[in-house]
């Protein structure tokens, strides 16, 4: 496995106390992936625990089971690289380094949230880490991402833009229009398609012909691309590294299709296999491919971790999460006066 910018030290050399802290660049890539996924999982499981209290009064789209993609792609990025995402953006935001407290506060609708309560869970943003936002109209962030990459290109800057999108989003015309322009101008962008085989409760086969190949569609625009196992964080990292390097080198855009599976319901916190839109066998098979357990097994085999350290990491984030929830719940709601300003430049009239 090649090294990323985070890989200044060898695997396993990070000290135990570090294991209890949020993931940091001092980790080896694989350890970073493991810690990042564990942290995202811990955060989302906590959201799921509290969601039924009806105090997070906005939709949430959990990525439990899909963490490897956010982790693997983020590990391949420089801090200045840009990320944007969709309705299902918790993992992307956290993996890019988005502030945990402000995220939880946003779901609780508080003034301390990352959008001050304007956006809710579907509009995560943290400009300090170049997470430039997420939007829930399927596909409509894709042109925005392309424009961000276009601005880098115009300015001759080397920053790469990553946009996450679902398999459903590739059905929107905006996707075709975006990759055509990105390929035309050789923009530094990676389109990361998280194919979890569903759009809400609709399986792929009611939405796309069986032969549809999104990487192939990219190739027919002269765009590089690859497909991979979205539940294998190390594989995702390898693929993403190649994609990001390609984009950064000026060779043009890249499409990465990664297969994965959503464990919990489309929107909300429960499990929904009782609805019957997918088979329990299918679901169980994918749970057997838990990206965190998969990587943990490997790290134990390799001796990068021992089982005590693994357990430590799994539990390492509870305190931080307690704090974020406490912060959110104790934060004030916005005032009436915090709403209603729609213009950045005030002008007369109404």
């Amino acid at each position: 496995m090649t090294r990323s910018k985070y890989a200044d030290e060898q695997a396993g050399t990070a000290a135990a106390p570090g294991l209890l802290a949020p993931p940091s660049p001092a980790d080896s890539v694989s350890l970073w992936l493991y810690r990042t996924m564990s942290r995202i999982r811990a955060v989302e499981e906590r959201i799921a625990e509290h969601y039924p209290e009806q105090e997070m009064r906005c939709p949430v789209h959990l990525s439990v089971g899909q963490e490897a993609i956010a982790a693997g792609v983020s590990a391949a990025l420089e801090p200045n690289d840009y990320v944007v995402s969709t309705h299902r953006s918790h993992a992307h935001y956290l993996a890019k380094g988005g502030d945990l407290r402000r995220f939880i506060a946003e779901i609780y609708g508080r003034s301390t949230g990352c959008c001050g309560g304007h956006g809710g869970s579907m509009h995560l943003i943290d400009l300090s880490v170049n997470m430039l936002g997420s939007t829930p109209i399927v596909g409509n962030i894709v042109p925005i991402a392309t424009g961000i990459a276009f601005a880098s290109w115009l300015k001759n800057e080397k920053d790469v833009t990553v946009v996450y999108l679902g398999d459903g989003a590739t059905e929107e015309g905006a996707f075709l229009e975006s990759i055509n322009f990105a390929a035309l101008k050789s923009l530094p962008i990676v389109y990361v398609v998280e194919n979890n085989f569903f759009s809400v409760y609709s399986p792929l086969d009611v939405r796309q012909p069986a032969a549809r190949d999104v990487v192939g569609i990219g190739k027919n625009h002269g765009m590089a691309g690859a497909r991979g196992d979205g539940n294998d964080a190390e594989q995702v990292y390898e693929l993403a590294k190649a994609a990001v390097d390609h984009a950064r080198s000026g060779a043009g855009p890249y499409v990465l299709e990664l297969e994965t599976y959503r464990w919990r319901e489309h929107c909300g916190s429960a499990y929904d296999n009782d609805l019957g839109y997918r088979s329990v066998a299918e679901y169980e098979a994918w749970r057997g491919r838990d990206p965190i357990a998969t990587l943990e097994r490997r790290l134990l085999e390799r001796g990068t971790l021992d089982s005590e350290q693994a357990a430590q990491i799994s539990n390492a984030y509870a305190g931080e999460i307690d704090d974020a929830f406490a912060f959110a719940r104790s934060s004030p709601f916005p005032d009436e006066g915090d709403f209603g300003t729609v213009f950045s430049t005030a002008v007369p009239g109404r």
Binding site: P59, G109, G120, P136, G139, V206, G340
Partner: protein, 353 residues
């Protein structure tokens, strides 16, 4: 017989009867045949009529609208369903340039008998991109019919009329209406498009309202009655064509207009109602007409925002009182008004929507 069913069930029943009546009727949309069946409004239809006539579609709102239009040119009667009207922003070109124009631009040789069901919402943290009510934009377009029934009986009758109609009809449902109940006849019947309905006669003021605002208006009228104010409530029902005669008859009678619409104020439908009143009831108007609408800003996700954002029966009643020169309100009458958080239709509702 006074059979009471919900607004959502009324839509399902109408669709069922329409599909049984005419095998050219089909239903498409994201989630239409899925286990949640668009809040139950398409429940069991795919089992009954088959996957060819009741089907899910790709997330391709623009082209799929065109697909509906094209099929309508060959005699099909598509019903397209959107869980949120916001998604139609992607389909404006097909709706405005093709559906609304085909009939007149080809000199009446073909028409586009297509119905687009679009749900609008309120509250529960939808945020700025999943909460809009875009009816004003559509109502500006010649050749489109836009309806927004408030009562279960009208939901059934107007959906049937819309599917029978030869023109494209945008059928707007408010999510908070789906669980409201009312008398709905079992047989098939049409409620005419283009006609408003006086749902509560009165003499002091005309509260002219659309969709869920009719419910708020009725609550306001009830509360106001306890304060001795006799409000007439007019359910617009048809956003376009507008029943100018029907609505103006009420305004001319009372001389006072409160125009209620759960959409942005500026360039919204409430403004059109006021413009019509200024043109057609100039002599009779006794006080300046008033709009009760959403403010001119984007829905914020925070639950606290719902309280600042959505006008309610209280808002309406306060405006009526002010218009009639009553500065004090009777606190007693407020017992009549709904008690639930501003972002929930009632306490039984569990998010997410």
């Amino acid at each position: 017989m006074n059979r009471q069913i919900s607004y959502g069930e009324a839509i399902r029943e109408a669709t069922d009867q329409l599909m049984a009546e005419n095998d050219r009727v089909y239903v498409m949309g994201l989630g239409v045949p899925d286990p949640k069946s668009v809040f139950g409004t398409t429940r069991d239809l795919s089992e009954k009529y088959g996957a060819k006539r009741v089907f899910d579609m790709p997330t391709s709102e623009n082209a799929m609208t065109g697909v509906g239009i094209g099929s309508a040119l060959l005699g099909m009667r598509p019903i397209m369903v959107h869980q949120r009207i916001d998604f139609l922003l992607l389909a404006f070109d097909q709706i405005v340039n093709n559906a609304a124009k085909w009939y007149s631009m080809f000199n009446g040789q073909q028409s586009v008998p297509m119905v687009i069901r679009a749900i609008v919402g309120r509250g529960w943290g939808q945020g700025p991109q999943h909460s809009q009510n875009l009816q004003a934009m559509f109502a500006h377009v010649p050749g489109l019919k836009v309806v927004a029934p408030a009562l279960p009986a009208d939901a059934k009758g107007m959906l049937i009329a819309a599917v029978h109609d030869n023109d494209p009809v945008l059928f707007i449902e408010h999510r908070w209406l789906h669980s409201t109940f009312g008398h709905v006849p079992e047989d098939m019947y049409e409620t005419p498009l283009g006609k408003a309905n006086v749902v509560r006669p009165g003499s002091d003021v005309s509260i002219v309202a659309t969709s869920f605002m009719v419910i708020e208006a009725l609550r306001a009228a009830e509360a106001l009655a306890h304060e001795g104010i006799d409000a007439e409530v007019v359910d617009v029902r048809s956003i376009r064509p507008i029943d100018v005669d029907g609505i103006m008859a009420s305004v001319r009678k009372t001389g006072r207009l409160i125009a209620c619409d759960a959409a942005w104020k500026t360039m919204g439908f409430a403004g059109e109602l006021i413009a019509l009143a200024a043109e057609h009831a100039f002599e009779e108007l006794r006080t300046p007409p008033v709009r009760v609408t959403l403010p001119d800003w984007h829905t914020a996700a925070s639950p606290i925002a719902a309280g600042f954002y959505y006008p309610t029966a209280v808002t309406i009643a306060n405006h009526v009182a002010l218009m009639l020169g009553k500065s004090e309100r009777d606190p007693e009458s407020w017992a009549l008004v709904r008690k639930a958080p501003a972002d929930q239709p009632d306490l039984s509702f569990i998010g997410p929507f």
